[in-house]
Amino acid sequence: MKQFSKKKTLNDDERYEVFVRLLVEHEPRVRSFLRGLLPTWYDVEEVAQEASLIAWRKFDDFEQGTSFGGWLLTIARFEALKYRRRVARSPLVFAADVWDLLADEAAGEENLQIRRQHLEVCLEKLERTKRNLLLKVHTPGVVIREVAQQSGKSEEAFYKVIQRLRVILRDCVLTSIAVENS
């Protein structure tokens, strides 16, 4: 056994597991929420990391049986606000009033949630090459401008193609959510 590892008690294991399961369940919602507030995925990752760490550190304060998702979202919103102050000079960062409006509405219970299963169904409806192209430009670490330059199209034309695919996908997803709700 390593000097630095310590055998955990059963209660600790259980506690870990509870946290793990809650985090895995709610983290996508948090990242989606942050994406609408922060200008780059780098920012989203930073704040999501920080929020997860704080949630873990404060997990003792979380009241079992209440909404973990809401609690995590509150932490994420606060951390995003702190982060915003650091990057506020960027033209990509929204003004405070716009930020508040978007955050309020995105955090609201009534806000519809696009989930992965919705998207996967709609992605399957796209031609394989279009599906792959769309996923490629959304792959972490891929710079959309570089993909555009490699595509042989002008950047403007490339962005139009991507945007058309996004609109098709969004319409498909919203329709499937509407059908599901009805």
Binding site: D13, T40, Y42, S52, D97, H138, V143, I144, V167
Partner: protein, 482 residues
């Protein structure tokens, strides 16, 4: 109109929106709930697309858009991705589940070779482990980090100014963090570290072909084949200094890349020109006019000044708590009673400088008016404690000479006052200034005060003015003279 709005939303999400378009978009979002709903739906779509794409094609440490990783690696499950993200401190407990599934990823990759001060390590499996000097309340799961302990990768965080942590990878490459720093490290066949903030030094042995060490900071990505270098990272800037070899640095925001060779440094910010600055070699005491090493060792060949970690693009004095180093100068000034001495300089803490350590400027005389004589301090002017943010801060002090020192030669030493810490700390000093204002006590007559008989009384003497003894180029106060 809707098409224009969609276009602006897409440009914002892709990070290519212009300032004018951003203003327009914000106004639309202010004015229209429909616009906000549309924005929200595209943002959510982007997030889910990102999640799906991330699962199907993912690198060892996931990176945000704009990063240098442009060659996606084989797909992993979301849980596996989350396990690696955990190592970066994202989702601490996810790895507890994944530990069983991905046990091989948990192999030890590095050994602790030294540590000090408040430290927290967060590793696979969610262990939160604190260093022996941590001031934080230990958690129930805490243990203590020890020298020689082996780690499987994870995030190490220094929580105090005097924190430091040294790591040796299996191939002999070493890495250190200092002070309030946070570093995530992994080695799945290719070393990858992420310096969220703080200071990081590495001595990297030649890496396998095609698998350079990757260092990520908030604003830059570094590619290291084998070299020695220092990095300082903040939320908006990264400074790289290469001591040996070559490091490629790439600005995340626009992909601009430069190769930084030995003895050069570069600063990367959103709008920096990323020009390379030649950092001159270290200079010893014998190459530093007016100043000498007055320590017991008297070694005049040890390092006195450097250009790295500068305050103004020029050389600075390296100050150490080591007893073998004591910068001092014979000022040549003969003290008069009532002389007011003002000292000013800028300084910053560096490696191992503890939170209570201070710079101590000592003014002294000797029994034979020679530097080699027996010293008697008549003033010790302390700098105050460091801010610890890596920025230069001002230090100053004032003292008045008395009859005791009158008639003797003034010497000055730049010493340290140890406030704690296990190791000898290092600080940097620049733009040292010492000035004297001759203010003489009433009733004590000087030769100048006597009038020759028959001569008229002159006008009242002018107000005393300060005279610079050391400062700028005078007696090498800026440490730049050769």
């Amino acid at each position: 109109m809707m098409a224009d709005l969609e276009k602006r939303i897409a440009a914002w999400l892709d990070g290519r929106i212009s300032e004018a378009e951003s203003e327009t978009l914000q106004q639309e979002l202010r004015d229209s709930a429909e616009a906000r709903a549309m924005f929200n739906s595209f943002a959510q779509l982007d997030a889910v697309l990102h999640e799906v794409a991330d699962t199907e094609q993912v690198g060892a440490i996931s990176k945000a858009g704009g990063s240098s990783i442009s060659t996606p690696k084989p797909a992993m499950t979301r849980l596996a991705k989350a396990a690696l993200a955990l190592a970066a401190g994202i989702a601490i407990a996810v790895a507890a589940i994944l530990y069983v599934q991905y046990g091989s990823a948990n192999r030890d990759i590095a050994r602790i070779t030294g540590l000090n001060g408040g430290l927290i390590w967060i590793g696979n499996g969610g262990q939160i482990v604190q260093g022996p000097g941590s001031r934080q309340q230990p958690t129930r799961w805490s243990n203590v980090l020890n020298e020689d302990a082996e780690l499987p990768g994870g995030t190490i965080e220094g929580t105090a100014l005097d924190s430091w942590f040294e790591l040796e990878f299996l191939d002999g490459s070493t890495a250190m963090i200092f002070g309030d720093s946070m570093l995530t490290f992994s080695d799945q066949g290719q070393k990858e570290v992420r310096l969220k903030q703080g200071r990081f030094s590495a001595d990297v042995v030649p890496q396998p072909s095609g698998e350079p060490m990757l260092v990520h900071t908030p604003v830059a990505d570094l590619t290291v084949v084998g070299t020695q270098f220092d990095v300082e990272a903040g939320p908006e800037s990264t400074m790289l200094f290469v001591r040996e070899g070559k490091v490629q640095i790439r600005r995340v925001s626009d992909g601009k890349t430069v190769d930084v060779t030995a003895d050069h440094r570069v600063v990367v910010t959103a709008d920096s020109d990323m020009l390379l600055w030649l950092v001159g070699p270290d200079r010893a005491w014998v190459q530093t006019p007016f100043w000498e090493n007055r320590s017991t060792s008297g070694n005049q060949d040890s390092t006195a000044t450097q250009e790295t970690r500068d305050s103004d693009g020029t050389r600075n004095l390296l100050l150490s708590e080591e007893p073998t180093t004591l910068p001092a100068q014979d000022t040549g000034h003969i003290i008069r009673s009532g002389d007011v001495f003002d000292v000013g300089y800028v300084w910053r803490s560096d490696k191992w400088w503890a939170a209570q350590d201070q710079v101590a400027i000592k003014l002294f005389t000797t029994d034979n008016d020679l530097m080699s004589g027996t010293p008697t301090d008549f003033a010790t002017l302390l700098s105050g404690t460091p801010t610890g943010d890596g920025a230069y801060q001002a230090g100053s002090g004032r003292t008045t000479a008395t009859e005791t020192e009158a008639g003797k030669k003034l010497f000055v030493a730049i010493d340290t006052q140890d406030g704690g810490g296990d190791l000898h700390g290092v600080a940097r000093i620049d733009n040292f200034q010492l000035q004297v204002t001759p203010i003489h006590k009433s009733g004590l007559r000087r030769l100048d005060d006597f009038q020759l008989e028959g001569t008229p009384f002159s006008a009242p003497p002018p107000a005393p003015t300060a005279v610079i003894i050391i400062g700028g180029d005078v007696r090498n106060g800026n440490f730049n003279r050769l």
